[in-house]
C-alpha cells in the first residue's frame, strides 16, 4: 500500500534507540510538569487564604484527603466504570505504544494490514495516516503515546464536572482518529466482518465511551441512558449474529476443500504468532476444534450473540443481569481465543475490542440498575459553574463591567491564585494530564506541517555523518553548460559534493533527486549552498550525457546545480583525490561506485562525509536523505 513502506525493519536499532531516547526525554518533561504543579499547589495551599488541605473537605490525613478530592463526589456507578475502565485502557494503549518496534513498524504491521482488504478509498485514508507516521516515526509514535497517556490520566483524575466531560470529549475525539486512520474504520467496510475478529473496532468503543462521558451529569441520573446503551449494544449484537449466520461467509465451515474456514483460519493465524507457549497451544487447540466442528462453534456463537442482544434489548433487570454476566464471560473467552489478548498476535497497539465491550455492557447495566439519587445542592452548583472546574473548584466572584472585564478578572493573577488555592488534587492531576496531552499533540501537529521526513530514516540505513576537517582537494572540470568550474571558485559558499553516473539505472537518479529536494528544503539559504556532482563514469563523459541526465531528472532548471565532467584521465584524478571507487563490472552491469557525499564549508574544507546509498528509494527515504543533506548544509552555514 502506498505510504506504508518506509523501508525500515520494525526493530531497526537506530530507530528503536532514537524512540527510547525521545520517550525518556519526554518522560522527564512529564515528571517535571507534575513536579511543578505539585510544588505550586502545595506552596500556594500553605499560604494564608489557602485551604491548607489536600482535599476540599480539609481532612487531616493526606491520603484521605486525596481520596476525598477524587471520589467524595457521588459519581454514577455506570459512569465511574466507563471513566476508570477506559482511563486504564488508554494507559495500557500508551504502554503498548512504547514497544520497541512501534515507531518503525506500525504503518507496515498495524495500519497496512488493517486496511489491505478494505475499499480503495479506505486504503487511501489509511495510506495518508501511514505516510504521516512513516515520515516522522519517532516523533509521531511518541506523540501518540503521550496523547493516550494524557487522556487516560485525565479520565482517571477527573471524576466530575466539565473537566471530566472534556476528558470524555478527548477520548471521543482521539478514539475516532485512531478508528478512522489507525484501524481503517475497524475494517467495517472490508469483507469478513465479524464480532469475533473485533468488529466494529476497539477505538470506536473508546469513542462511544468518550461520548457517554461527555453527557451531562443529569443524563446519568435516570435509567434511560442505561436502557439506551444496552439497547444499542443489543441491536449491534443481533446485527453481528445475523452477519455471523449469513450463508456464504465461510463461518459455518470448519474446513472447506482442505482449507480452513474463516474462523479456523483466524485462530490458526493467531496461534502461529510469537507468544507464550501455553497460549499458543490453547489457540491451536481452538483452531483444531473449529476446524473439526465449525458448524457447532458458529451455531453457539450465533445463539450467544442473538440471545445476548435480545436480553439487552429487553432492559429487564432479571434478564439483563445474568445476560451481562454471561456476555462478559464470553467476551473474555473471545478475547483470549479470537483476539489473542489483542496485543500478542503481532505488533498490537491496544488490547482489542472485547475488554471495551465488557466495560460498555457493565457500564450500561449499572446505568440501568444503579441510578444515583438527585444531586446535593453544592454538586448541582458545581456542575453549573464550568469555569471553576478545570483548574479549581472555586467560583469566581461576579464582577461589574463588560464581558471582556469579566474574563480579564477570571484569568487575572488574583483569580488564578484563588483558583489554585482552592484546587483539589484531582484538578491538579487533570491539569497535568492536559499538559501530557499537549506534549503529544504539539509535536503531532508539527509533524503534519513538516515537509520532509525525519533524518532518522537515512541514518538508520547509512549511519550518521562522519565529521571531517581537511582541505577539500581542488579540481577544475566542465559543467553542464560547457563552462570551466573549479571547487576553489566556490569558496565562500557551502558545497554539497557527490559523485554520480549519468547512465546509472538505480541509485544516482535517486541521489540527484535528493540533492534537488535538499535545495528546496534549504529555501532562501540555498543561495549560499552549491550542489555539485562529479561524473563518476569515465566511459560516458560527454557533455551530452550530463545534459541528458539533468534533463531526465529535471535538474536543468536548478540554478545552484552543477554536474561536472571532463576527460577520463582528469576525472580519475578527482576520484583518486577523494578516495572514490569507480569500477567497471562485466556482463551488462552498471558501473560500480560508492554512494558518497561530502560537505565542504565556506573555507573549502571538508567538514562532513555522508553515506548516501539511497536504499529502497521510496518517497519517504528520498525525503529523509534530502533532509539529512539540508541539515548538514544548514549546520555548516550556522557554524561559519
Amino acid at each position: 500500500m502506498p505510504g506504508m513502506n518506509n523501508g525500515l525493519d520494525p526493530d531497526d536499532p537506530t530507530v528503536v534507540a532514537a524512540s527510547r531516547a525521545a520517550l525518556l526525554h519526554q518522560g522527564l518533561i512529564v515528571l517535571l510538569i507534575f513536579a511543578v504543579l505539585s510544588v505550586a499547589w502545595v506552596s500556594v495551599r500553605g499560604q494564608p487564604g489557602g485551604s491548607r488541605g489536600w482535599g476540599r473537605e480539609g481532612s487531616a490525613h493526606p491520603l484521605a484527603r486525596v481520596r476525598a478530592g477524587l471520589w467524595a463526589y457521588g459519581e454514577p456507578a455506570g459512569r465511574q466504570v466507563l471513566r476508570i475502565g477506559f482511563g486504564l485502557l488508554w494507559l495500557a494503549d500508551a504502554v503498548l505504544l512504547a514497544q520497541p518496534g512501534m515507531a518503525a513498524g506500525l504503518p507496515s504491521q498495524v495500519i497496512g494490514p488493517s486496511a489491505v482488504t478494505s475499499p480503495a478509498w479506505v486504503q487511501h485514508v489509511a495510506g495518508w495516516a501511514g505516510n504521516t507516521w512513516s515520515y516522522q516515526p519517532v516523533e509521531v509514535s511518541s506523540a501518540a503515546l503521550w496523547i493516550e497517556a494524557g487522556i487516560g490520566l485525565w479520565l482517571l483524575a477527573a471524576p466530575r464536572g466539565t473537566s471530566s466531560r472534556l476528558a470524555g470529549l478527548a477520548s471521543l475525539t482521539w478514539g475516532l482518529v485512531v478508528w478512522v486512520f489507525g484501524e481503517s474504520f475497524g475494517q467495517i467496510f472490508a469483507p469478513g466482518l465479524s464480532w469475533l475478529s473485533g468488529a466494529p473496532g476497539a477505538a470506536l468503543l473508546y469513542a462511544v465511551a468518550g461520548a457517554l462521558l461527555v453527557l451531562p451529569d443529569r443524563a446519568w441520573r435516570t435509567p434511560r441512558l442505561g436502557r439506551a446503551l444496552l439497547g444499542g449494544l443489543g441491536v449491534f449484537l443481533i446485527g453481528m449474529a445475523v452477519l455471523q449466520a449469513w450463508p456464504g461467509r465461510g463461518f459455518w465451515q470448519g474446513a472447506s476443500a482442505g482449507q480452513p474456514g474463516t474462523l479456523a483460519a483466524l485462530a490458526q493465524t493467531l496461534a502461529g504468532t510469537p507468544q507464550p507457549h501455553a497460549l499458543s497451544a490453547l489457540l491451536s487447540g481452538f483452531a483444531s476444534l473449529v476446524r473439526a466442528h465449525g458448524f457447532a462453534v458458529n451455531l453457539v456463537t450465533v445463539i450467544v450473540l442473538a440471545a445476548t442482544g435480545l436480553a439487552f434489548l429487553s432492559a429487564r433487570r432479571r434478564v439483563t443481569g445474568p445476560a451481562v454476566t454471561a456476555f462478559i464471560g464470553v467476551c473474555l473467552l473471545a478475547w483470549v481465543l479470537t483476539e489473542d489478548l489483542g496485543f500478542l498476535g503481532g505488533l498490537g497497539a491496544d488490547p482489542g475490542s472485547m475488554i471495551p465491550m465488557t466495560l460498555l455492557a457493565g457500564g450500561g447495566y449499572l446505568a440501568l440498575t444503579r441510578v444515583p439519587a438527585a444531586p446535593a445542592p453544592d454538586e448541582a452548583l458545581a456542575e453549573e459553574a464550568p469555569a471553576a472546574e478545570i483548574g479549581t473548584d472555586a467560583i469566581p466572584e461576579p464582577v461589574a463591567g463588560g464581558l471582556r472585564d469579566r474574563w480579564r478578572e477570571r484569568l487575572g493573577p488574583a483569580a488564578l491564585h484563588r483558583s489554585l488555592t482552592a484546587a483539589t488534587f484531582g484538578a491538579m492531576m487533570s491539569l497535568g494530564a492536559i499538559g501530557v496531552i499537549l506534549l503529544g499533540a504539539v509535536p503531532m501537529a508539527a509533524a503534519q506541517v513538516t515537509p520532509a521526513a525525519s533524518v532518522i530514516l537515512a541514518q538508520s540505513m547509512d549511519g550518521a555523518a562522519n565529521a571531517m576537517d581537511a582541505p577539500a582537494p581542488d579540481f577544475t572540470l566542465t559543467d553542464q553548460h560547457g563552462r570551466q568550474m573549479s571547487l576553489a571558485g566556490l569558496h565562500g559558499k557551502v558545497v554539497l559534493l557527490t559523485f554520480l553516473d549519468p547512465v546509472c539505472v538505480t541509485d544516482c537518479p535517486l541521489i540527484a533527486q535528493e540533492f534537488r529536494a535538499a535545495g528546496q528544503l534549504l529555501g532562501a539559504r540555498s543561495r549560499q549552498v552549491e550542489l555539485v556532482a562529479v561524473n563518476i563514469n569515465p566511459l560516458y563523459s560527454q557533455l551530452a550525457y550530463i545534459r541528458a541526465f539533468d534533463h531526465a531528472e529535471r535538474l536543468d532548471t536548478v540554478p545552484n546545480w552543477h554536474f561536472l565532467t571532463s576527460n577520463p584521465a582528469r576525472l580519475r584524478q578527482v576520484y583518486r583525490a577523494y578516495g572514490v571507487a569507480s569500477q567497471t563490472l562485466p556482463a551488462g552491469a552498471m558501473l560500480g561506485h560508492s554512494d558518497i557525499a561530502f560537505v565542504v564549508d565556506q573555507r573549502g574544507h571538508l567538514v562532513q562525509e555522508l553515506n548516501v546509498d539511497p536504499g529502497p528509494g521510496t518517497a519517504i527515504t528520498k525525503s529523509s536523505f534530502a533532509a539529512e543533506l539540508a541539515d548538514a548544509a544548514s549546520q555548516t552555514l550556522r557554524s561559519a
Binding site: V503, C504, V505, T506, D507, C508, P509, L510, N537, P538, L539, Y540, S541, Q542, A544, Y545, A548, F549, H551, A552, T584, L585, P586, A587, G588, A589, M590, L591, G592, D613, P614, G615, P616, G617
Partner: protein, 384 residues
C-alpha cells in the same frame, strides 16, 4: 423553439449520429490491428561477423541483463562483448554499418530515462560513447546506421530521430502522427511505426503497421516527402492486415519480414529490395496460431525465425522457399544465427549459462558446440 430551429437541430443530430463530423481514419470494416510485441532478441551477420543480443539472468526485472555476443567466422566461437560501464536491463538495439563495427543502443530501464549509445570498431574489444538518444522504442530495429555514419532511430514516443554523424546530436526527422497525416500515411492508415532502416544508398526507410488491409507499411523518402514503398502482396493476402515485423539491411540490400493475417490465418513473408522500392517477395509461410519469438538475418539476406512452440524456419534468400528446422533446443531465450550461407546456429540461455548449437548432419540435427558461463552481476541494478 421555432420550426426552422427544430429542423436544424434535428438535422444536426442526424448528422452526428451518421458520423458526419468524424474523420475516417481507416476503411470501414478493417479492424485496427492490435500492437504485436516484437522480441528484441536477434542476431545479424555483417561482413563475416555475427552479432547476437539475448537476455540472460532472471526472466524479467532488474536481474535480467541483455548480453551481446559475437562470432567471428563460421567456425569461430561465441564471445561475450556486452558494452561495459552501462546497465543493459532495458535491452540492446543493434545497428551495423560494417565489418567489426557495431553501434549499440541501450533501451531505457528502471530509473534511466534515456538511451545511451555506444560503438565499437574492433569487434567489441573497445567501446566509445556516442550522443544519447531520447529513448529507443521497444522494437529490434529501433536503430540503423548508414555507411556514411548517419544514424536513424525510432524512439518510445513514436518519433523518428536522425543524426547527421555519429558524434552529432539527434534531431527529429518525423513522427508517426505526422507521417500518418501525409498522403502515404493516409493510404496505409498508419497505426504505429515498428522499424527504421537505410537503403544501401543511404536513404531512410520507415516501417510500421497499416490499418488498411493488404498494405505493407514501408515508407521511403523521396524529394522531402514520404512515399508508400512496400511490396505488393499476393491477391490471396490482400484482405489481411499486414505488420512489418522487422526491417534491416543484410547482404547489401534491405530485408523486411512481414506478418500477414492473425491467429489461424497468420503467415510470414520476407521481402528484399536493393533500393527500398522494388521488392522481391518470398512465398508465404503459414504460421497458424503461432507468433514470432525472434528473427535474425544472415549476411546474404537470409532470414531465420524462431516461432512459438519451439519451432524454427529459415529462408536462404530471394527465390528460395521456407525451410522448417528440427525442433529447437529449449531455452529461457532462443535465437537463430546465420553466420555463413548454409550454416545455421542457435543460442539458448538458461540463467547465467549460454549454450551454442549448430545444425549438422543429414538428417539435420542440433549439436551443442559451446557453453559460456556469463558472470551476471545479480543485484547490481536492484539498488540496496
Amino acid at each position: 423553439m421555432t420550426r426552422a430551429r427544430r429542423a436544424a437541430a434535428g438535422l444536426a443530430l442526424i448528422m452526428l449520429a451518421a458520423g458526419c463530423g468524424s474523420r475516417a481514419e481507416r476503411p470501414a470494416g478493417t479492424p485496427a490491428p492490435a500492437p504485436v510485441p516484437l522480441s528484441l532478441v536477434t542476431a545479424l551477420t555483417l561482413a563475416g561477423t555475427t552479432w547476437a543480443t539475448i537476455p540472460m539472468g532472471a526472466p524479467s526485472g532488474p536481474n535480467q541483463f541483455w548480453q551481446l555476443f559475437t562470432l567471428s567466422g563460421p567456425s569461430g566461437r561465441w564471445s561475450l562483448r556486452t558494452p561495459p560501464g552501462i546497465a543493459t536491463n532495458g535491452a540492446l538495439v543493434l545497428a551495423g554499418p560494417g565489418r567489426q563495427t557495431l553501434i549499440t543502443g541501450i533501451r531505457p530501464s528502471l530509473d534511466l530515462g534515456f538511451s545511451p549509445v555506444t560503438a565499437t570498431r574492433d569487434g567489441g574489444g573497445t567501446w566509445s560513447s556516442l550522443p544519447p538518444e531520447p529513448g529507443f522504442a521497444d522494437v529490434p530495429d529501433a536503430l540503423a546506421a548508414a555507411p556514411d555514419g548517419r544514424l536513424i532511430a525510432l524512439d518510445v514516443n513514436q518519433t523518428v530521430q536522425a543524426s547527421a554523424s555519429q558524434q552529432a546530436g539527434w534531431t527529429t526527422l518525423t513522427t508517426a502522427k505526422d507521417l500518418a497525416a501525409t498522403a502515404a500515411g493516409r493510404r496505409c492508415a498508419l497505426a504505429r511505426l515498428t522499424a527504421v532502416a537505410y537503403t544501401p544508398a543511404g536513404s531512410p526507410l520507415l516501417a510500421g503497421i497499416c490499418g488498411r488491409a493488404g498494405t505493407a507499411g514501408i515508407f521511403a523518402s523521396q524529394d522531402q516527402t514520404w512515399q508508400l514503398a512496400g511490396p505488393e502482396l499476393p491477391a490471396a493476402l490482400s484482405g489481411q492486415p499486414v505488420r512489418v515485423i522487422r526491417l534491416s539491411q543484410a547482404g547489401g540490400r534491405d530485408v523486411a519480414l512481414l506478418q500477414a493475417g492473425t491467429g489461424p490465418s497468420a503467415s510470414l513473408l520476407a521481402a528484399w529490395a536493393g533500393d527500398g522500392r522494388a521488392w522481391t517477395l518470398s512465398p508465404a509461410f503459414a504460421i497458424p496460431g503461432s507468433h514470432t519469438v525472434s528473427a535474425s538475418f544472415g549476411a546474404d539476406g537470409a532470414v531465420a525465425v524462431v516461432l512459438s512452440g519451439g519451432r524454427g524456419v529459415t529462408l536462404s534468400g530471394p527465390g528460395a522457399t521456407w525451410r522448417q528446422l528440427p525442433p529447437l533446443p529449449p531455452g529461457q531465450a532462443v535465437v537463430l544465427a546465420l553466420p555463413a550461407p548454409g550454416t545455421t546456429g542457435l543460442l539458448a540461455t538458461a540463467g547465467s549459462m549460454l549454450t551454442a548449437w549448430q545444425l549438422t548432419g543429414q538428417p539435420a540435427r542440433w549439436t551443442r558446440t559451446q557453453s559460456v558461463k556469463v558472470p551476471i552481476q545479480y543485484g547490481s541494478s536492484s539498488g540496496n
